[in-house]
């Protein structure tokens, strides 16, 4: 890896200047490197972070076929990484005009990394530096503990996709605004409602009584009320104290954090070094979380800006056709498939247009007449401002769910592709299944990255219990064994996993002697199963 030439760097600086004028905001310093194919091969498994820790799986010949992404989306390789300063990678034989285009694309990414709120937790430090420190830590641990370091890395990585990223976001968002739970809150919010014979009338009676006391004794009404309550329910205070303690439990949805806090095995003196490994895996995973959740937005934003800025750039006159060819490759809507560059860019362009005409406000949505809607134009000129706001505060799922509407679908002639068997020709036919916005939205939302949600707790006999929250999807069964094996090791004892499994229910379809004419609609029944990992053997039982 070497830095780009001074000539190319000058071009980059020119691009930054123009991007700033257009309103993009980013730090001054950036690093650009020329990479060879060999470099890329080595950087690939490290998600383009040159200083990421070493791990043997990176060394195994990994088959990175495209089909793999379908089940198992990883953080995609990027040209730019979100470090301080941001680092971007280039081929050394790109012509200047192409570099200009890529530079604008890269600047779009950098602006996105540094302004989108989902990246908030990556703003305060340089990940490349931190990764280097982690790498050295692992190297040192390896020299002391040998292969056991790699086992711990492996086991920690089995659950690193479940990190509590949204907990972190919530913490960042709500820092300081959280009010401690008072006894009064506890009484009304939990105690009264949880009890075996909770009733609405009793609840409102108590509210009424509380209000009356506050009115009658303006100074100490609340204290009096509480006193009467605690006299009546002797157990209340003890329960409250217990609840307060429980409140401090960390990471009920972050298994790594949970293990670090509560695992008896990890907290043994001789195993404490493993905590460091877990923390590195966890923070590394947290760092990558926003990237995979903003793929459409990030690529759309970068594509929007390379498109906008390139054509306005005076330095590249005469290369419009070359540009158009490359740009078409990057941002054309495929006949079948979902190109995040194309979809994101079109959405941004569409939203800018709409905001320019004032079609984002109440007035527009209250206009019900179709023709009036079509002619609706307030000429606000606020389009740019609006999309800058979206780039700051949205992630893919919000972006898709809020803004894909029928007008957008119609304008770009989008549709959902279905696949069916043609029995006469023995072919799979791809056909236009739906042109409705709702269906398209659902299809896009369905293909977004979404790891399972798992709640962790400790059950009887000190068993670690994982509760997979049912979201209409089963877990990939082949992987369960490996994951639970690792968890048993890190927990130091038995582990249970509860999850739902679809059981196909066969309708009586056997009609003898006939090639199947019609497959009856298949129905699925969901059953809750418990996987038990004990002494490195896995068992599955029906949990209900």
């Amino acid at each position: 890896m070497e830095l780009i030439s001074q000539h190319a760097k000058r071009i980059m600086e020119g691009c930054k200047e123009r991007a700033r004028q257009a309103g993009l905001r980013f730090e001054d310093e950036t690093l650009e490197y020329i990479v060879t194919n060999r470099d890329l091969v080595e950087l690939g498994p490290k998600v383009m972070i040159p200083t990421l820790y070493d791990y043997w799986v990176q060394d195994v010949e990994v088959l990175r076929e495209q089909g793999r992404y379908e089940l198992y989306p990883n953080n995609p390789y990027e040209t730019v990484i979100n470090t301080r300063p941001p680092i971007s990678y280039y081929n050394d034989n790109n012509p200047d005009w192409l570099n200009v285009m890529i530079f604008y694309h890269v600047i779009g990414h950098i602006d996105f990394f540094q302004n989108n709120l989902f990246f908030r937790h990556t703003w305060d430090y340089d990940f490349a530096g931190r990764a280097l420190a982690d790498k050295r830590l692992f190297a040192k641990l390896r020299s002391e503990k040998g292969r056991w370091v790699d086992y711990v890395i492996e086991f920690a990585r089995t659950i690193d996709n479940l990190v509590g990223y949204f907990d972190l976001l919530a913490e960042n968002g709500a820092a300081g605004s959280e009010r401690p739970l008072t006894l009064l809150d506890y009484y009304f919010d939990l105690f009264l409602q949880r009890g075996p014979k909770s009733s609405v009338s009793r609840y409102s009676q108590e509210i009424e009584r509380y209000n009356r006391m506050c009115r009658e004794y303006p100074e100490d009404g609340e204290t009096r009320f509480l006193k009467s309550v605690t006299e009546k329910h002797a157990e209340l205070e003890a329960l409250y104290a217990k609840k307060l303690k429980e409140k401090k439990t960390v990471g009920r949805t972050d298994p790594l954090l949970f293990l670090m806090e509560y695992s008896p095995f990890l907290n043994r003196e001789e195993n404490r070094w493993m905590l460091m490994v877990l923390e590195v895996i966890r923070s590394t995973s947290l760092y990558f979380q926003p990237q995979i959740r903003t793929k459409i937005l990030n690529e759309g934003w970068a594509s929007y800006w390379h498109d906008t800025l390139f054509l306005g750039d005076d330095r590249i006159r005469g290369h419009e056709v070359d540009y158009a060819i490359v740009n078409a490759k990057v941002t054309s809507m495929p006949r079948v498939g979902l190109n995040p560059y194309a979809l994101g860019m079109r959405l941004f362009q569409y939203l800018e247009q709409r905001a320019d005409r004032g079609r984002t406000g109440l007035a527009y949505f209250q206009t019900l007449d179709r023709h009036q809607r079509q002619r609706f134009d307030r000429d606000t000129g606020k389009g740019r401002e609006y999309i800058f706001h979206i780039r700051q505060s949205h992630c893919d799922s919000m972006f898709v769910n809020s803004f894909i509407d029928q007008d957008f679908i119609d304008q770009h002639r989008l549709f959902v592709v279905g696949k069916r068997l043609n029995k006469e020709r023995m072919t799979w036919q791809y056909y236009v299944k739906s042109r409705k916005a709702a269906d398209y939205k659902e299809m896009v939302a369905d293909s977004l990255y979404h790891p399972p949600r798992v709640q962790v707790s400790v059950g009887d006999n000190n068993v670690l219990v994982l509760e997979h929250l049912f979201e209409g999807k089963p877990l990939l069964r082949d992987f369960i064994q490996g994951v639970m094996l690792g968890l048993e090791f890190l927990w130091g004892g038995e582990v249970h996993l509860y999850t739902s499994v679809p059981i196909p229910r066969k309708a009586g379809r056997e009609r003898d002697g006939q090639a199947k004419e019609e497959t009856p609609k298949r129905t699925i029944e969901w059953k809750r199963f418990r996987y038990t990992m004990k002494d490195r053997t896995l068992a599955r039982t029906l949990a209900e």
């Binding site: 495209q66 089995t158 006469e424 798992v454």
Partner: protein
């Protein structure tokens, strides 16, 4: 087709159960519908769809060159990694490196099969709700994919044959490079399987044959005359002689000029005639490629056969010849592994045809005299010849000369979990017990894993 119909009529004359008739009808229907859809209807290639996370900058902005990131990464040697994997087992964790096949797309469709180790990082991730596997029909339950452009709702925008029929014309020019590639990695794979997965070594049953071939080698020694002077041995002799004569004393410097050299001290190597005792094997891989085999059963069988081939290649130090035979109601021999691997048709099933062909080849080429013969047969267990009336006699003939016949039944799931015909008539014949040393059967469920496949190999060859 006409012949198939005749066949069915014959079978019907003999009486069929409803169940059998249903299977036969199903396969006939497949023949009628299928055949070769690609050529018959001139379809274009089906649309390629990909996940939205597979798009990335380096690929899109690279000018024409495919992203190198999609290729393979190997920083540590395979042996090192396997060593590590062995250590895992000793530490009480299951192995993690698996043997995988990689189909490397060639330029003109001459795909190469390369065998590589792979591993996955297991995580809790969502799976799809399994599709309706039995019916292969109905509308997909999943949400579909994105698309853009013209077309009314319901309009067909592309199609793709359900089964890719390839091969047939896998003539010269194809396969050559591919076959070589396969050979070179197969030996390694066999070594890995034997060493790492503890597959048994072949037991030497005195089967080594002397061939009519002699090798001449400079292995014998002769004093006084010969072809090549063995300097070291000669010098030793010279010193012995001189010590015996008292011309060399311990502790003093040896003056080489004064040493006496007797003519008998010269030691020569001479050519000698050596009988070549290498054992050789010929392996018949037989695969059912009828309609009911499509999909997973084929995958499993072919997978297992690759691994068996690799193991034998290692055991016989590359002295393995392979013959590939495919059958539906008729058997045919194909030229190379590629064709064996890829070819699919939709036809009926008659196991006897394949056994007959193997027997004929062995007799015609007099293979039984010079070779250890192995036959591995993969099928889903369906046979129109329900009671094995024709298959069993052929099988018995085969068992006379073979070192091992291994039959793999990969269940196709069409019939639920009842035992398949082949399994039934084999069990009934009692051959599995009486000829235990020669005949083995392995029945795999449809959703078997790589580990199960290797387990199956142990069962077939141990």
């Amino acid at each position: 087709m006409h012949r198939l119909r005749q066949w069915v009529r014959q079978l019907e004359a003999r009486g069929l159960t409803d169940e059998q008739r249903r299977v036969i009808e199903f396969e006939l229907a497949l023949v009628e519908q299928g055949g070769d859809p690609q050529q018959a209807h001139g379809l274009g290639p089906g649309p390629v769809s990909r996940s939205l996370y597979s798009y990335c900058d380096p690929e899109l902005f690279a000018q024409g060159t495919a992203s190198p990131v999609l290729s393979l990464v190997a920083a540590q040697s395979l042996d090192h990694l396997l060593q590590r994997d062995l250590q895992r087992e000793q530490d009480g964790f299951p192995r993690k490196i698996r043997i995988g096949k990689l189909v490397k797309p060639g330029r003109d469709g001459d795909d190469k099969v390369v065998v590589i180790p792979t591993t996955v990082e297991e995580k809790l991730i969502h799976d799809r709700i399994p599709e309706d596997e039995e019916g292969e029909g109905g509308e997909g339950q999943e949400a579909g994919e994105g698309g853009a452009g013209e077309g009314e709702e319901g309009e067909v925008i592309g199609e793709q044959p359900v089964r890719e029929e390839q091969g047939g014309g896998s003539g010269a020019g194809q396969g050559q490079g591919g076959a070589h590639e396969l050979e070179s990695t197969v030996y390694d794979l066999g070594r890995i399987l034997t060493e790492q997965f503890a597959l048994p070594n072949l037991r030497d049953k005195g089967k080594k044959r002397s061939l009519t071939r002699f090798a001449y080698d400079l292995t014998d020694k002769n004093r006084g005359f010969g072809q090549i002077l063995d300097k070291k041995a000669t010098l030793r002799r010279v010193l012995q002689t001189n010590i015996a004569l008292g011309r060399v004393q311990a502790g003093t410097r040896v003056d080489t000029n004064t040493l006496m050299v007797s003519p008998r001290d010269r030691v020569y190597r001479i050519l000698s005639k050596e009988k070549d005792y290498e054992s050789q094997a010929v392996v018949f891989f037989v695969r059912d490629y009828s309609g009911s085999m499509a999909g997973k059963p084929t995958e499993l069988v072919v997978n297992q056969h690759v691994l068996i081939y690799a193991w034998l290649t290692y055991q016989y130090q590359n002295q393995v010849e392979t013959r590939f035979i495919l059958h539906d109601t008729e058997a045919r021999e194909v030229e190379n592994f590629q064709a064996y691997y890829q070819m699919q048709v939709a036809g009926g099933t008659q196991v006897a045809s394949a056994y007959r062909l193997v027997n004929r080849i062995v007799v015609e080429e007099e293979l039984a005299r010079d070779y250890s013969i192995y036959v591995f047969h993969g099928t889903d267990g369906d046979d129109w010849d329900t009671y094995g009336e024709e298959a069993l006699p052929e099988l018995e003939k085969m068992l006379v000369y073979t070192s091992r016949v291994g039959i793999t039944i990969a269940e196709n799931g069409l019939e639920g979990s009842r035992r398949s015909e082949v399994e039934k008539y084999l069990a009934k014949s009692g051959l599995l017990e009486t000829k235990k040393e020669l005949l083995r059967l392995d029945v795999m469920a449809k959703d078997s894993t790589e580990a199960r496949v290797i387990e199956g190999i142990k069962r077939l060859i141990s």
